[in-house]
């Protein structure tokens, strides 16, 4: 990380923090105030990352850190259409508007027995027992996570009682926007009791117009034999900045499946880390992203196999167009005791233009000797022979391309178990692809072979 001296990029953020704390600092519970102080101290000592930092080598956040964002006090003028656009039928919905619980946009009328969904601020004020997990996740190395903690105020608490099987989809909608350049630091805490089961979708939206910044931290604690699926659905506008830190710890025989879908944003950085804390625990980290223009999508994953007989599967698939850049860094740690680990990591990228770039870096640290760890990366264009085969049956070139891209993305999208969300995301992907193709036509550019590939 950068040197301890205050980097001047921090100053506007610290001023904003000062304003925030003076505004409502004293009202917060003591625990929140302590966490904020710790977050601030870490943020100050680390500073913002630069490309000299290993974890940020290919991700220059200058455009983000040099923007004077204001904390989201204002609200988007008309958020209801945004909510309606993404609403899932039959779901329990909690909306965070500029970081704060918005009851008027939420629908908590049908929360089933065994499930608790609500404002994190309220839960903290009431001293809800699940809140003891807040701040447990080891995110010391992430300056943006520290920044989120420094601004800790509200977010969502999702708690699933021991043994509860929740069929109702749980939908958290995070909306950032308003007049001026807005930033928000929402926090999501997910606590799944022993042998519980649920699906939680987090949809991140930004309102059009100004560039906005969403800095999300998600902490998940998965009990023994619990099965939780989490969809991180990122649909920022073209100018949006997004940093997401997710940490999950999975107890014995528990399963956590993460599907990260990124369909928009100027700079998107996702850190997802899992601690496989009990024998037989399993995680899936899957991701699919579409990035175009001069956008950047960076997925950093860490899976810590700390106990024996755990399994982890990672599949990330990118679709890159224009001058887009993507980064994938997949770190897998297999501790000395973690015998019989089975870890599989796959990273693929589909380059639709000559100017797109991906940096892919598997990072395996294996200390046990009886383990199975595999990783693979593949970067390429659409298969010409497959395109010709489809066209030779009568499909237009565009229909053939769409079908192949659909199949490519479908491998990940198809794993999303909430049908309404899966269909929304498929439609959104195609809406964006069509826009891209239209841009190609206007510019006279031809998607072709030969794009830059950096494979380490």
């Amino acid at each position: 990380m950068s040197t301890a001296t205050l980097d001047e990029r921090q100053a506007p953020y610290l001023a904003e923090l000062d304003r925030f704390l003076r505004g409502r600092g004293d009202a917060a519970p003591a625990r929140v105030r302590t966490l904020r102080e710790q977050g601030l101290a870490r943020f100050q000592s680390m500073g913002f990352p630069s490309t000299r930092d290993e974890a940020w080598r290919f991700t220059n956040v200058q455009a983000l850190t040099s923007t004077p964002f204001r904390l989201g006090d204002g609200v988007p003028t008309n958020p209801m259409p945004l909510v309606q656009r993404v609403a899932l039928p039959g779901a329990v919905r909690l909306v965070l508007l500029n970081g704060r619980f918005a009851p008027e946009l939420s629908d908590l009328s049908a929360v089933p027995t065994g499930l608790k969904v609500g404002s994190l601020a309220t839960a903290l004020a009431q001293g809800a027992p699940e809140c003891s997990h807040l701040g447990e996740a080891p995110m010391d190395a992430h300056p943006f996570a520290a920044l989120n903690t420094a601004f800790l105020e509200d977010g969502a608490l999702i708690a699933i009682r021991k043994g509860a099987v929740i069929d109702t989809p749980i939908h958290i909608v995070v909306i950032t926007g308003g007049t001026g350049k807005t930033m928000v630091h929402p926090r999501v805490l997910l606590v799944a009791g022993e042998a519980s089961q649920a699906t939680v979708s987090l949809t991140l939206l930004t309102s059009a117009g100004e560039a906005h910044y969403t800095n999300l931290v998600t902490e998940a604690v998965i009990g023994e034999q619990a099965h939780i699926e989490c969809v991180l659905d990122q649909r920022g506008t073209e100018g949006a900045f997004l940093t997401s830190n997710l940490h999950v710890s999975v107890a014995r025989q528990g399963t956590f499946r993460l599907r990260t879908v990124t369909l928009g944003g100027r700079i998107v950085r996702n850190d997802a880390s899992a601690l496989l804390a009990g024998e037989g625990a399993h995680v899936d980290f899957d991701g699919v992203y579409l990035v175009d223009g001069s956008g950047l999508v960076d997925n950093h994953t860490t899976i810590d196999h700390a106990t024996p007989h755990c399994t982890s599967h990672e599949l990330y698939k990118g679709i890159l167009d224009g001058k887009a850049r993507a980064v994938f860094n997949g770190r897998i740690i297999v501790r000395l005791d973690a015998q019989k680990t089975d870890a599989k990591q796959t990273n693929r990228a589909l380059l639709l233009s000559n100017d797109a770039t991906i940096n892919s870096n598997p990072q395996l640290e294996i200390f046990a000797d009886d383990v199975k760890c595999t990783h693979g990366a593949a970067v390429g264009q659409l298969d010409d022979e497959a395109l010709f085969y489809l066209r030779a049956r009568g499909l237009t070139e565009q229909a053939a391309r769409d079908l192949l891209i659909h199949a490519y993305a479908g491998e990940v999208l198809g794993r999303i178990s909430v049908p309404g969300l899966r269909q929304q995301l498929e439609r959104e992907l195609f809406r964006q692809l069509e826009r891209d193709l239209a841009e190609h036509t206007q510019a006279g550019a031809v998607p072709a072979a030969g794009a830059t590939v950096d494979q380490e």
């Binding site: 489809l390 066209r391 030779a392 009568g394």
Partner: protein, 253 residues
Amino acid sequence: MSLLSIHDLHVTAEGKHILKGVSLDIQPGEVHAIMGPNGSGKSTLARALSGHPGYAVTSGRVLFNGEDLLDMDPDERARKGVFMAFQYPVEIPGVNNAYFLKAALNAVRKERGLDDLDAIDFMAVVKEKARLLEMDDSMLQRSVNEGFSGGEKKRNEIFHMAVLEPTLGILDETDSGLDIDALRIVSHGVNTLRREDRSFIVVTHYQRLLNYIVPDFVHVLSEGCVVRSGGCELALELEEKGYGWIEAGEARA
């Protein structure tokens, strides 16, 4: 009017001049077999007719129903009624065979001025044609050609042809790699599709297929030219004597 009229066709692939002036006339309802030794240009002819981007037509003319075929994109040729059964059908993971075929059929129907078939009507068509090719329902629901055996791939090609009902079917070495049972099923499928307004070009190295799909005409290609044309008895002659005699000088006789 001929269904297909090929005049002095020259084709290069990967910089090599492969077809050196092929001319051929096919009337509606006829089956023409194209035979010849390896490297004679049989498959090049099939692929050039289907519009494969790897095969460049350097001169010549091809009229299909009186229209300039070479001026059309591959998908336009397909929609106008040209069907190519691939020698090596491509595996396409993630693309459902039935879904793809429905998209293809509706593209072809649109060209013919017909409405889209809905899922129920489509399945009715498909079930009937699948029976013809003795295809398992599971092959419809799998990804296109993925994990299919060689025989299943070829059956799937003819099944696609049966559903799309082209006016010209081009079979590019459909018999290669087939055991006798699969050969019988595939041939039966093709024979059922024979009609007075539908023609076929059957590209094959071996006479065996022509016992099942009996052609009206046989053309022998050698070094990119048609060196002999005749009736189906020519195939038997080739079977008996091999290709050596053609290359050795019969062509010049």
